[in-house]
C-alpha cells in the first residue's frame, strides 16, 4: 500500500504531502530566525551606551552577496519552470547556476570571516590601542606586525565609517602588549550575534546546496522514471531556497547597513 498524495495534490487541500511538510518546516524556521532577530534587537537596544559598533562590515561584499542570492532565487525558479515545460537540459543549466551562485556566496562569506579573524585590537600598556590586520604573528618572535593605526580611545573604533588615520605597518614589541583580541565572536556582542546569525544562515545555505546538488546530480535519474514527483522535489527545494534568500534580505540591512 502506498501513502496517498505523495505526488498528486489532495483535492480538498490542493497540496501534496511534501509541500505541506515544507511549509510547516518553513514556519518553524521563521520562528527560529524570528527568535534570533528578536535577540538582535534585545541586545542592541540593551547595549551599554557607546558599545554598539557601526560600519564594521564590508558593504560592498554584502551587496554583491545580496545580488548573488537574488540571482540564485531567479535561477531556482527558472529551473522549476523548465521542468514544467518539459525542458530537462535547460533545467540542468539553471540549477547548475543556482549551485554555482550558492558556492560563490559561501566563498565570499568565508573571505569576510577570515578578514574578521585576522583583524586585531591590541591594547598596549601605555593605554594606546593598535587596531589593524595581522601581518606577522610568529610565536617565537618578540614582536608582532600589524597593518593598521593607533587610537587613544576605544570609542574611536566604534564607527567604521570614519577611518581616521592612514594605515601603516606597525611593529609592536610583545612586551608592550596588555591584551590582544581578534574580531571574533568574543570581541563584542555585535560580532557575537553577527557570527551567530550568519553562521546559522550559512549552514542553511550549505544544507540547501547539498540537497539541490543531490537532486541535480544523482537524484536526477528520477526525471526519467517519475517526472512529476521529480518536479515536485525541485519545487519543494525551491521553496526552501527562497526562504533562505529571504532571511538574507533581512540580514543584510540589519547587519551591514546600520
Amino acid at each position: 500500500m502506498d501513502i496517498p498524495y505523495t505526488v498528486k495534490p489532495r483535492p480538498d487541500t490542493g497540496l501534496y504531502n511534501a509541500k505541506i511538510g515544507m511549509w510547516l518546516f518553513l514556519a518553524s524556521e521563521v520562528m527560529l530566525f524570528g527568535g534570533l532577530f528578536s535577540a538582535y534587537i534585545f541586545l542592541r537596544v540593551g547595549a551599554p551606551a557607546g558599545t554598539w559598533p557601526h560600519g564594521w562590515l564590508n558593504v560592498t561584499l554584502g551587496t554583491i552577496n545580496t545580488v548573488i542570492l537574488a540571482l540564485s532565487a531567479i535561477t531556482t525558479l527558472l529551473a522549476w519552470v523548465a521542468l514544467k515545460l518539459n525542458q530537462f537540459p535547460r533545467y540542468k543549466v539553471f540549477h547548475a547556476l543556482t549551485i554555482l551562485l550558492a558556492l560563490t556566496f559561501l566563498g565570499i562569506k568565508s573571505y569576510e570571516y577570515r578578514d574578521k579573524f585576522l583583524h586585531f585590537e591590541v591594547q598596549l600598556k601605555d593605554g594606546r590601542i593598535a587596531d589593524g590586520h595581522m601581518v606577522e604573528n610568529k610565536r617565537d618572535a618578540d614582536h608582532i606586525v600589524l597593518h593598521g593605526h593607533y587610537v587613544e580611545n576605544r570609542a574611536e573604533l566604534m564607527d567604521g565609517h570614519t577611518k581616521g588615520k592612514e594605515h601603516t605597518e606597525l611593529k609592536i614589541p610583545r612586551a608592550d602588549i596588555k591584551r590582544m583580541q581578534n574580531y571574533g565572536p568574543a570581541h563584542n556582542n555585535f560580532l557575537g550575534i553577527y557570527f551567530c546569525l550568519t553562521i546559522l544562515h550559512a549552514l542553511h545555505i550549505l544544507g540547501g546546496v547539498l540537497v539541490i546538488a543531490y537532486i541535480w546530480g544523482p537524484g536526477s535519474k528520477m526525471w526519467f522514471t517519475d517526472p512529476e514527483r521529480y518536479t515536485n522535489r525541485v519545487e519543494v527545494s525551491g521553496l526552501f531556497w527562497h526562504f533562505v534568500d529571504l532571511v538574507w534580505i533581512f540580514l543584510f540591512p540589519v547587519l551591514y547597513l546600520t
Binding site: 501513502i3 527560529l32 535577540a39 522514471t225
Partner: protein
C-alpha cells in the same frame, strides 16, 4: 515515500510481494509508525523510571542532608567519585540530579511518550491512514531523539558531571559552572528539538492530508485534535529555544557574551568577557518555549482521558466542539503568557499586567475542557476499570494543579511564591498525577490493541491506588512548605537556611521541615507502587487475559476497527468514515456503540 513508487509506480500487485524484512529493518530501522511508536514508548518509559530514581535520591538528601544514600550509596560513590564520596550526595551532585531530573522528565520522558509514542501509534490509525505522511522522517525523528538521549545520559559520566543549572539553564550561572555538562546539555537539546520538529511536522501533515474518505475535521477523535494542536505548539515554540541554545553554545564555545552582562564577577573577580549581554534574554526565549510546552504536556493527556471517558461512560463526550475550539484557543493564547514565569525580573507593572491578563484568559479554555470532561460523566453508566480509574483521578488532580496555578499567575502573590516549593507542587500536580495518570490510562486502554491481551486488572488497581495515594503524599505537603517560604533547589532541604534564621521572621518551623520526611516516604511508596505496573506490563504480553475480539472495549474510533495488532498498513481496505467519533448509546440501535466506519444502513450495501 516508498521505494516502490520510484521503480514500479503502477504495479498494484507489487506491494503484495514484499519480502519479509529482516530483524533490523523490522524493529530497529523500521519505518512503520507503529514500531516507531513502540520504540518511543520503551525508550521514554526507561527515561521516566530513570528520571524518577534521580528524584528519589534527591528526596533522601533533602530529608537527611549529609547522610549516605541507602541502597544505592556505594554505587553512587563508585560511579561519581568525589562528588558522592562515601555515598553522600554533595551539593554539586544534587544540582546535577536536579537539573537532569527536570530535563529528562520533560524532554526525554513525558513529551516523547505523549507525542512520540501515543501520537505516532494512534494518530495515523485514528484518521484512517496507512502510515505517517513521511515514514522515513519519522524513523529519523526517533533516531534524533535517541541520540539526544544518549548525549544527555552520557554527560553524567564526563569529568565534572552533567549540567547543574536547573532544567531552565539560566545564564550566567549555566555559563560559569566549570563543567562541560552544559555543552552536552545544549547539544542534546539541539538533537531533541530537531527530533520534535520532524515529528510534529509529520503528525500535522498526516492529519491534514491522510484523513480517510469521510473523516472530516469535526469527525476526528478528540485525541487526534489534541495531538494536532500540541504538534503546532512544538513546531512553533521550540525553534526560539533552539535559537537560544545556539546562542548559549556560542557563549560556551567561542567565548562570546550574548548572555553575559557587563561587569559580571565570578568568584570575586570581574570575568574576562566582553559583556553587554542579557541574561533576561535567555529567560524570554526559554519560556517562549517552556510555557507552550506545558500545553504540549497536558493536551495529549486530555485527549487520552477524553477517549477513555467516552468509552467507559458509554455516552458521547459532552461538548465535543467546545473541546476542539477550546484546545485551539488554548494553543493560540499559550504563546502570549510566557513572561508570567519572569515577574521577578523587574519587568515593570505595565508588562506584568499584560501577562497577568493573558494568564487569566488562558484559564478559561482550560476550565472549559475540564468541565466538558466532568459533565461527560453525568448520567453515564460508568464502567470502572483501570484505565477509567486513572482517567477519573486525572480530573481532580489536574484541577488541583490548575487552580494552584492562579496565585502564581498574579504578580502580587507570585512575588512571595516564586521559586518556592509551592511552584514545585503546582506544576507536579499538573504533570505527575495529571499528565502521567493520563499516560497510564492510555497504556492500560490501548495495551490490548498492541498485544491482544489485557493487562492484569487486579494489579492495575493496586498500581492505581498506590500511585494516587502516594502522589498526594509527595506533592500536597509541598504547598505548605512553599507557603511557609521554603525555597526550591536547596541541596540540604532548607535546614541551613532555617537554622540561620532561628527566632527571626522567615524561619521554617520544625513541622515544615518534618514534612521533608513525609515526602521522602511518599516518594518511596510511589516508587514501590510502580513495581506492579512494570511487572504487569511485561507479564501480560504472554500471560494476560486474551481479548475476546478486535474491539474489546466496544469502542467507536477507527483503531479498534482493524485487526489486533494492526496489519502493517493498518487497514486491509481503506476505511470509509460515516459518523462522528463518539456515537455511543444511540437510541434505536441494537448495540450501544456505532463505529465510525459503520454505514447508516448496514443491510443495504451497494
Amino acid at each position: 515515500m516508498h521505494a516502490t513508487t520510484q521503480t514500479m509506480p503502477h504495479d498494484p500487485a507489487h506491494s503484495a510481494h514484499h519480502e519479509a524484512p529482516g530483524f533490523w529493518r523490522s524493529y530497529i530501522f523500521s519505518i512503520d509508525h507503529k514500531i516507531i511508536g513502540i520504540q518511543y514508548a520503551i525508550t521514554a518509559l526507561a527515561f521516566l523510571l530513570f528520571g524518577f530514581s534521580l528524584m528519589a535520591m534527591m528526596r533522601w538528601q533533602i530529608a537527611h542532608p549529609g547522610q549516605s544514600v541507602p541502597v544505592v550509596g556505594p554505587l553512587l560513590a563508585t560511579l561519581f567519585g568525589d562528588v558522592a564520596a562515601k555515598g553522600v550526595m554533595s551539593a554539586d551532585l544534587y544540582n546535577t540530579f536536579g537539573a537532569m531530573h527536570g530535563t529528562i522528565m520533560v524532554f526525554l520522558a513525558v513529551v516523547p511518550l505523549l507525542t512520540g509514542a501515543f501520537g505516532n501509534y494512534l494518530v495515523p490509525i485514528q484518521v484512517g491512514a496507512c502510515d505517517m505522511a513521511f515514514p522515513r522522517l519519522n524513523m529519523l525523528s526517533y533516531q534524533f531523539y535517541f541520540v539526544g538521549g544518549i548525549i544527555m545520559f552520557s554527560s553524567f559520566f564526563i569529568p565534572g558531571g552533567a549540567a547543574q543549572s536547573g532544567w531552565t539553564s539560566y545564564p550566567p550561572l549555566s555559563l560559569i559552572v566549570p563543567t562541560d555538562g552544559q555543552t552536552y546539555w545544549l547539544l542534546g537539546m539541539v538533537f531533541l528539538i530537531t527530533s520534535s520538529l520532524l515529528g510534529s511536522a509529520n503528525i500535522i501533515t498526516t492529519i491534514i492530508q491522510l484523513r480517510a474518505p469521510g473523516m472530516t475535521w469535526l469527525r476526528l477523535p478528540f485525541f487526534t485534535w489534541a495531538q494536532f494542536v500540541a504538534s503546532f505548539l512544538l513546531l512553533l515554540a521550540f525553534p526560539p529555544l533552539e535559537a537560544a541554545g545556539v546562542m548559549q553554545l556560542m557563549d560556551k564555545v567561542t567565548g562570546s557574551s550574548l548572555f553575559l552582562p557587563t561587569g559580571l564577577a565570578v568568584g570575586g573577580k570581574v570575568a574576562e568577557v566582553a559583556g553587554g549581554g542579557s541574561p533576561v534574554l535567555w529567560q524570554h526565549l526559554f519560556w517562549f518555549l517552556a510555557h507552550p510546552e506545558v500545553y504540549v504536556l497536558i493536551l495529549p493527556a486530555l485527549g487520552i482521558v477524553a477517549e477513555v471517558i467516552a468509552n467507559n461512560t458509554r455516552k458521547p463526550i459532552w461538548g465535543y466542539k467546545s473541546l476542539v475550539f477550546a484546545s485551539l484557543a488554548l494553543g493560540f493564547v499559550s504563546f502570549i503568557v510566557w513572561a508570567h514565569h519572569m515577574y521577578l525580573t523587574g519587568m515593570g507593572t505595565t508588562i506584568a499586567t499584560f501577562f497577568q491578563t493573558t494568564t487569566m484568559i488562558i484559564s478559561i479554555p482550560s476550565v472549559i475542557i475540564l468541565t466538558c470532561l466532568l459533565i461527560s460523566l453525568w448520567g453515564g453508566s460508568i464502567r470502572f476499570n483501570t484505565p477509567m480509574l486513572f482517567a477519573l483521578a486525572f480530573l481532580p488532580m489536574f484541577g488541583i494543579g490548575g487552580l494552584t496555578g492562579l496565585p502564581l499567575g498574579f504578580s502580587a502573590s507570585d512575588l512571595h511564591l516564586h521559586d518556592t516549593y509551592y511552584v514545585i507542587g503546582h506544576f507536579h500536580y499538573v504533570v505527575a498525577p495529571g499528565t502521567i495518570f493520563g499516560l497510564f490510562a492510555g497504556i492500560y486502554f490501548w495495551y490490548p490493541k498492541l498485544t491482544g491481551r489485557f493487562m492484569n486488572e487486579f494489579w492495575g488497581r493496586v498500581h492505581f491506588w498506590g500511585s494516587l495515594i502516594f502522589m498526594n503524599v509527595v506533592f500536597m505537603p509541598m504547598f505548605a512548605q512553599g507557603l511557609a517560604g521554603m525555597l526550591r533547589r536547596m541541596s540540604d532541604g532548607g535546614i541551613n537556611y532555617s537554622k540561620a534564621q532561628v527566632g527571626l521572621e522567615g524561619a521554617l518551623s520544625p513541622t515544615i521541615m518534618e514534612l521533608n520526611h513525609v515526602i521522602l516516604w511518599g516518594a518511596v511508596g510511589l516508587g514501590l507502587s510502580q513495581i506492579p505496573f512494570i511487572l504487569n506490563l511485561f507479564w501480560s504480553i504472554k500471560h494476560g487475559e486474551k481479548i475476546p475480539n478486535d474491539n474489546p472495549w466496544d469502542a467507536t474510533t477507527l483503531e479498534w476497527q482493524t485487526e489486533t495488532p494492526p496489519y502493517v498498513y493498518n487497514f486491509r481496505r481503506e476505511p470509509i468514515v460515516y459518523r462522528g467519533p463518539y456515537e455511543y448509546s444511540v437510541p434505536g440501535c441494537d448495540k450501544d456503540f456505532l463505529p465510525q466506519n459503520q454505514p447508516d444502513q448496514p443491510t443495504s450495501k451497494p
